[in-house]
């Protein structure tokens, strides 16, 4: 599938219907997740702030997933010099920054009533802040270098180096003492969350991923058109 889609022409044909389809799938997942989330009872300890979990956890999961996609696309761009992989990497970065910002802001709004603080320099929070800075750094680096090929190489190296932050984020709650709660979904012995919370959380997580898929395809298409416009402008100027 990757080999087939590596052809920009085929990718444009595929993404033309896949992007809106994934958008519809995202709506079909997020709408019931919102409904079930608002209908869920208050948590016995956290009260109604548990509702923030339904948007905070999917944002954090998506932010890490987007960075993994950015890293994967950067690898293909750097090693195989594939233009489509570079376009995909460039398209993913703003979406990743947005999801990470959401994870930080909603986490802060959840932390204030539960921990008594908007922010603590805790390993989980700090490593997610580093993730946000990596996304911003990636975009800033691409904008700072005029030569697009050099900018792509430099940004790809930054993205690959930044991959080390993903296991740090994931295991931070195990490696260091943390205010942030530990893994409560994918853990031995099953999830530690009641089903009434787990279902909307699962639907919302899948909905966020479908939304990212839709937006990523659409932004990669936009990036391909931008490059085609650049080539056409150069050709027009040379005539």
């Amino acid at each position: 599938m990757f080999a087939a889609l590596a052809n920009p022409h085929r990718f444009m044909g595929f993404s033309r219907w896949a992007a809106p389809l994934l958008g519809v799938v995202a709506l079909l997942l997020i709408a019931p997740a919102l409904w079930l989330g608002f209908a869920a009872p208050p948590d016995y300890q956290q009260g109604t702030t548990v509702r923030i979990m339904f948007i905070h956890v999917p944002a954090a999961q998506s932010a890490m997933f987007v960075y993994a996609c950015l890293g994967g696309a950067s690898f293909f761009s750097l090693v195989f010099r594939h233009a489509l992989a570079d376009a995909a990497a460039r398209a993913a970065a703003p979406l990743g920054a947005a999801f990470t910002l959401l994870a930080l802001v909603t986490g802060s709004l959840w932390g204030r009533p539960m921990w008594g603080a908007w922010w603590v320099w805790d390993a989980r929070l700090t490593s997610v802040l580093v993730l946000f800075l990596l996304f911003l750094g990636y975009m800033a680096l691409r904008s700072a270098i005029d030569d697009e090929a050099r900018a792509a190489r430099a940004a790809a190296i930054l993205a690959l180096v930044g991959l080390i932050n993903l296991p740090i984020i994931y295991f931070s709650v195990d490696w260091w003492n943390s205010l942030h709660q530990g893994e409560s979904i994918f853990r031995p012995g099953g999830p530690a969350i009641a089903t009434v919370f787990l279902i909307p959380l699962g639907l919302m997580s899948l909905g966020y991923l479908a939304a990212f898929g839709s937006l990523w395809l659409a932004r990669t298409r936009a990036e391909i058109w931008r490059r085609r416009a650049q080539v056409a402008a150069v050709q027009a100027a040379g005539r």
């Binding site: 208050p42 009260g47 109604t48 702030t49 058109w225 416009a229 027009a236």
Partner: protein
């Protein structure tokens, strides 16, 4: 589940910020895609011999 309890001041802004960021992602993506598509098609038309 109450919509206006003592935590409402934290829950609603969290959902509000999420809605705003999603709206930005969708609108920016659609505007960007539309703009570059139109520009590419116009320039490709101009550059044809």
């Amino acid at each position: 589940m109450s919509l206006h309890d003592k935590y409402a001041a934290f829950v609603w802004p969290a959902y509000g910020v999420t809605a705003l960021v999603f709206a930005w992602m969708v609108i920016d993506t659609l505007l960007r895609a539309g703009r570059w598509r139109r520009q590419a098609e116009r320039l490709e038309e101009d550059s044809r011999p």
